[in-house]
């Protein structure tokens, strides 16, 4: 009897043990190890020569100008990508909301970039943005507009990376928003029509609040994702020219062989920033999100 009740108590823990083991080994342990590494001047060649240096890595981070450059680049990148992608996705989703054959085709077309590797996309855009022979400057010239240096000038390089990221991300978010829009009962719109509501009023008083959970979800995951941008930068600019596109993750990557302790410390800072930002989002916006 006693044995049986003890087993009943233990059983739930036994059931979740395999999953917990996986999480411990592949999530918790790496995070803790990252934090552990951030306190060391780590020697990759000879582990025994690694030296505990306390918070020195962090002091260094917050006093170095190149970190702040990477941080501000990342913030500009994130803000632009999140705002542009959400705005354009919402616009396209509202347009694609009506079910018709052409819309299905357009939607599939917009989604296509999402299934292509970001590396291939970056390469293609690299060609398109080539200042002398690229297609974009050709179009600008044909339209009688001044050509741009795109990735080769520190003034326009970050913008160019942002354009590529927005272009690649839109399809996926359009899909989510269209699904959200189509889950709204048509009779709600009919009721609004009978309530003499203008189109704009219907949109911001009814449609937007109803899809706010999805928009909030997109905002959070896109912010997190954009803060961790790496592949576009790696392929298209390598952080250049003159650190104009150096982002935090690329910055971390830069020290992977020379100073892994410093890299780890920057990783911890990034984690803290993202955590803080998400917390702020929830604090500021959760009242405006209408879960049903």
């Amino acid at each position: 009897m006693d044995k049986q009740s003890r087993w009943a108590q233990l059983r739930p823990y036994m059931m979740i043990a395999p999953a917990m083991a996986g999480i411990l080994a592949f999530v918790i342990y790496p995070i803790l190890y990252l934090i552990y590494l951030s306190f060391f001047k780590y020697n990759l060649m000879n582990k025994d020569k690694s030296k505990f240096i306390g918070l020195d890595n962090f002091t260094q981070i917050f006093t170095r100008a190149d970190f702040y450059k990477a941080l501000s680049n990342t913030m500009i990148y994130t803000a632009s990508v999140v705002l542009l992608t959400m705005f354009i996705s919402l616009l396209i989703a509202v347009w694609l909301n009506k079910k018709s054959k052409i819309n299905v085709i357009v939607q599939a077309g917009i989604f296509t970039p999402h299934i292509i590797s970001i590396v291939s996309i970056s390469l293609v855009w690299l060609w398109l943005m080539e200042p002398n022979l690229g297609f974009l400057n050709y179009v600008l010239k044909t339209l009688g507009l001044p050509p741009s240096q795109w990735l080769q000038s520190s003034k326009t390089a970050l913008l160019s990376v942002i354009i590529v990221s927005v272009w690649q991300g839109i399809g996926y978010y359009v899909l989510i928003i269209v699904a959200a829009l189509q889950s709204i009962s048509p009779s709600i719109y009919e009721a609004a029509a009978l309530d003499n509501a203008s189109k704009w009023k219907v949109f911001y008083k009814i449609t937007l609040p109803i899809i706010s959970p999805q928009l909030f979800f997109i905002l959070v995951i896109m912010t997190i994702g954009s803060f961790k941008v790496f592949d576009t930068v790696q392929v298209m600019t390598g952080g250049g020219p003159n650190n104009a596109t150096n982002t935090i993750v690329y910055y971390i990557y830069g020290f992977r062989t020379t100073n892994i302790g410093y890299s780890a410390a920057t990783g911890v800072v990034l984690m803290a920033i993202i955590g803080l930002l998400t917390f702020v989002y929830f604090r500021l916006l959760s009242k405006k999100v209408h879960y049903q």
């Binding site: 009962s185 009779s187 709600i188 009919e190 009721a191 609004a192 029509a193 009978l194 309530d195 003499n196 509501a197 203008s198 009023k201 008083k205 009814i206 609040p209 109803i210 706010s212 209408h290 049903q292």
Partner: protein
């Protein structure tokens, strides 16, 4: 207040003609119920009045004015939807006053209206709640309040009670009758439930496959159905119908018109049979009596018989109906009416 008129109205969905050349007048201030089986076009008619699914051709007039080119919000109509269509992210107050705000009603007047209407429907204490925290009956009331607050000339209701449980539905029926009495505006109510139609309507408009079968007050609809469809749609259980065997004519009688007895009586129409099923409903009992050629439902106020018992069914002559081969009811002054009566007598115990 306003009357409604349809003039040669046709409605097609893609290539399906749902309603063709329909004419109908709905009287001002009356409670009119559009009833019929699903897919008969009753909701389509209602949506044409509202303007959310305008007619393909023909005219819809509200208060004598052609509203074809007038937007739904400016027709002076309010509608209660089957699923209530409450704005889920707005509080009860916002739901009720949304239409008022759009119509630029001043704040003081708006507040006063919202408070009066919400106390009328019993929602005053719930004004700041979200719809998701309300019960089905309360949501129904929000939808009603939202319609009432606009003081519409026409109230449209699309099966508003079908999502409520039986008890609440019966209560809401009474409340709607009282509401109509109090407001005195034109009510147009769509339902597939003939009980709702019978209990609330001043006028019932019975439809089938896009065609109006009969337009009459409930008692007329019940006592003088214009055709077989009306006879069988209105009344529970429906009218019993059998073949007369003469010129394709069918006879019919209401379940409660028949008398059950152990011995054959001297009623005009009489057959014998065996009780196949018995449903004891409290104040009445329903028997299904199977004869040689027919199965009839009989409603008795007394519960005297048991299953498998042999019984005699008798119906008085004046309780009988006849329907022609085309389904139309044959009136008593029809020149063949007597012949059919005789033919029916010949079927005794058949």
């Amino acid at each position: 207040m306003a009357s409604i008129a349809f003039e040669r109205v046709t409605k097609t969905f893609e290539k399906n003609v749902v309603i063709k050349d329909l004419d109908l007048k709905i009287e001002d201030g009356k409670f009119t119920v559009l009833v019929g089986p699903s897919g008969c076009g009753k909701t389509t008619l209602l949506r044409m009045i509202a303007g959310i699914d305008p007619q393909t051709s023909g005219k819809v007039l509200i208060g004598g004015r052609d509203v074809t080119r007038i937007a739904p919000g400016q027709r002076g109509v309010a509608m209660v939807f089957q699923n209530y269509a409450i704005y889920p992210t707005m509080s009860v107050r916002d739901n009720i006053e949304f239409g008022l705000k759009n119509n630029k009603v001043g704040k003081a007047e708006r507040n006063q209206l919202v408070e009066t209407i919400s106390s009328t429907v019993g929602l005053y204490d719930y004004l700041d709640r979200k719809p998701s925290t309300l019960s089905g009956g309360q949501r129904q009331r929000v939808a009603l309040a939202r319609a009432m607050v606009k003081k519409p000339a026409v109230f449209l209701m699309d099966e508003p009670l079908s999502n409520l449980d039986a008890k609440l539905r019966a209560q809401m029926r009474i409340e709607l009758i009282e509401l109509h009495k109090k407001l005195g505006t034109t009510f147009v109510y769509v339902t597939h439930d003939q009980v709702e139609a019978m209990s609330m309507a001043d006028t019932i408009v019975l439809m089938n496959q896009g065609v109006i079968q009969q337009e009459a007050a409930p008692d007329v609809m019940y006592r003088k159905p214009s055709n077989l469809f009306a006879a069988q749609f209105i009344g529970v259980p429906p009218m019993n119908v059998g073949e007369l065997g003469v010129e394709g004519v069918r006879f019919g009688f209401r379940p409660e018109s028949a008398v059950l007895a152990d011995e054959a009586g001297d009623e005009h129409f009489s057959i014998s049979g065996r009780i196949a099923t018995r449903e004891m409903l409290g104040s009445e009992t329903l028997y299904q009596v199977r004869g040689a050629n027919h199965a009839f439902m009989i409603k008795c106020t007394e519960d005297l018989f048991t299953v498998d018992q042999e019984v005699h069914v008798g119906v008085a002559a004046k309780q009988m109906y006849f329907f022609g081969a085309d389904g139309k009811r044959i009136d008593e002054d029809h020149h063949r009416y007597r012949d059919y009566m005789e033919a029916l007598r010949g079927k005794r115990n058949g």
